[in-house]
Amino acid sequence: MSLSYISEILPSLFQGASLTLQLFFWTLIGSLPLGIVVSLGLTSNIKPIRWVLDFYVWLMRGTPLLLQLIFVFYGLPIIGVVFHRYDAAVFAFILNYGAYFAEIFRGGLQSIDNGQYESARVLRLSYWQTIRKIVIPQVVKIVLPSVGNEVINLVKDSSLVYVIGLGDLLRAGNVATSRDVTLVPLLLVGIIYLILVGICTYLLHKVEQRYSYYK
């Protein structure tokens, strides 16, 4: 395991890690708001909305993400929807993670005491004012640990994009391993994942601390 070999393969690993990170950020930017909106729909009184969203969550949680990636990239072109590899990956990840986040937020929404809504109502706050100022801030605190779990999963799930031919961190390591017949690249891949997850864990901890100002 010479240092020169490591420095030789690191650039390609970093390139893979960069794709992993991009996918990670775009997925979070898309799926967190999607999850919030879907969770509001899942807890609404309008039945058709609930049916549609229940079906969506069932579909997303009921099939492997790997399969969803394949369907978005190879399947959707059949009905005329063509994505680039990278866009297909982002699209599939946002839909998939949006469903998981929606279920987490639904749990958070349902744990808000009805008294909070009643208080807001007698103070004449509108529905959206109540959601924005009273409900969401409290839900965020409740769901942070579960969201953190999903965020960390996402770092590693991103490796599934190899199936549609994208070069992420794990694939970069795989390529080097089979070319040079050594496990060193995969060892480095493991270390890079650990560092990424370590950073996520640290940041999530900081966010949780920010919300610990009240009980």
């Binding site: 005491d113 008294g115 909070q116 009643e118 208080s119 109502r121 007698v122 103070l123 004449r124 706050l125 509108s126 004012q129 100022k133 009273i134 801030p137 409290q138 605190k141 100002y213 009240y214 009980k215």
Partner: protein, 216 residues
């Protein structure tokens, strides 16, 4: 003066309130007493708009209003809940100023100055930056009162104001309510505690269970 005429409310066929008439005169305290299950809280929830009455008329100073309405002219009732229902993630100041700034579109500084006055009047000077979890039960209740008063209601309603508190705080609540009465507040207090009701009220309304009527 608040008048409620011929109020009727039933839940899935079971009549809870029938032909109910309530009058609260200006600057007076009306206590509503009765055994649990008699419909005291239901009556309060109809007045505060949290339940829709089947029928009945609501008048404030002779003018009809809709407790469930969202018009500013319908905004006549302030509520102090049994468990206070303060917003745990907001400071005492923000609890009090949230609705005045968002609903009445009041200027932030103006709302805060008003909140400071309310807190001082209620013996909570300097507590504005604390969070609800840092307050005692009695203090929480006074914050809930301040929060309701900040919306300038014509009537302040309480649901069982003594039940979430230490028994020896009952005297404090009595003083508080009588103090607000002296300041000119019209108040309606639902309680199961007859002695408490007698100590604070100008008038007592007894609600009795309608179960006999239902059995007919």
């Amino acid at each position: 003066m608040l008048e409620i005429k011929n109020l009727k409310k039933s839940f899935s066929g079971r009549v809870i309130l029938d032909n109910m008439n309530v009058t609260v005169k200006d600057r007076e305290v009306l206590s509503i007493v009765g055994p649990s299950g008699a419909g005291k809280t239901t009556l309060l929830r109809c007045i505060t708009g949290l339940e829709k009455a089947d029928s009945g008329e609501f008048l404030i100073d002779g003018q009809s209003f809709n407790p469930q309405g969202t018009d500013t002219s319908d905004s006549v009732i302030g509520v102090v809940f049994q468990d206070f229902n303060l917003f745990p993630h907001l400071s005492v100041f923000d609890n009090i100023t949230l609705a005045p700034t968002m609903v009445l579109k009041k200027d932030k500084n103006e709302a805060k100055a008003e909140a400071e006055n309310l807190l001082a009047e209620l013996g909570l000077k300097g507590k504005g930056d604390l969070y609800p979890f840092q307050l005692s039960g009695g203090q929480k209740q006074r914050v809930a009162i301040a929060r309701a008063l900040a919306m300038h209601p014509k009537i302040l309603c309480y649901d069982e104001p003594t039940s979430a508190l230490d028994p020896n705080l009952r005297r404090e609540v009595e003083k508080l309510i009588l103090g607000l009465k002296q300041d000119g507040m019209t108040q309606l207090v639902v309680t199961h505690d007859m002695e408490f009701a007698k100590n604070i009220a100008d008038d007592i309304l007894e609600v009795s269970s309608l179960d006999k009527l239902n059995q007919k």
